[in-house]
Symmetry: C2
Subunit: 160 residues, 2 copies
């Protein structure tokens, strides 16, 4: 039943991509996965990378991942830790891997003097929401994220 | 009527704090501003800082700010640019300063090969929402952000 956590390394890129595809299927977004091993390796492991990954290993296999970066609170004048994605292989659930990944990230946040640990969840993902509320995490329901990408992003950039 | 944009410098910390307090008042959150000049200077300008600021100057005064950092899209395997806060002094509105700041950030996003430019807005801030939709930015309404802080964050960290 035991597992261990460690920082992801460049040679994990293939496993990261496999888990990312599994997660995308779960979020009904598989067709949105546009990345590949080389791009993941470059953006997570090249010098100056601002996003980071932790993996869980069990019986010699990578079975879970967490991808995070440091955000910022203007009110606090401090960084926060933002968990972009967390995924545990379905057949590896119930062992406490997800909770252990969250705890590791919370410890990194405290160690780095972050004021907050944040993440987002799809509003229909009730099992995840119940779990987050059991940790006493609070929904920031009055905030709506806006996204500009593709042509709209280039059009705005062209006015600079 | 003219203004100019530039990267913020350490000596802008006092102006940044003043504008942050003004923004907090507008968002009815003034009591939540816990930072000071030294902390802003350290977290925005020390080596290794991951958050960045752009300011607008008009008639020799700093009249607007934008604070941003790089987030990450797992699906894209690319960074995004996330605008944490944007504020223009009320008496300086209508000159295009906010739009110019957004355009500058969009240009940084394109230059840095970011797949997305994102920010969040309070759901009651209709003038801002109308402006963002005029840029063809899309609301990510099915996502809810969760936040862990204070004792709940430390409690989770202690289980790591």
């Amino acid at each position: 039943m035991s597992f261990s956590l460690r920082e992801a390394r460049r040679e994990d890129a293939g496993d990261l991509l496999r888990l990312i595809r599994d997660l995308a299927r779960y979020e009904e977004a598989e067709e949105q996965v546009e990345t590949d091993e080389d791009q993941l390796a470059a953006t997570l492991f090249d010098e100056g990378a601002t996003a980071h990954a932790i993996v869980a290993e069990r019986e010699g296999r990578v079975v879970a991942l967490a991808i995070y970066f440091f955000n910022y609170s203007t009110w606090q004048g401090r960084n926060g830790l933002y968990l972009e994605d967390l995924f545990v292989e379905p057949q590896q659930r119930g062992l406490g891997i997800g909770k252990a990944l969250l705890a590791r990230l919370a410890a990194i946040a405290v160690e780095r003097d972050c004021g907050r640990f944040e993440w987002s969840v799809l509003d229909w993902n009730t099992p995840a929401i119940d779990f987050y509320e059991s940790l006493d995490a609070k929904p920031q329901s009055e905030w709506v994220r806006y996204r500009l990408q593709g042509k709209a992003l280039k059009a705005l950039a062209d006015t600079a």
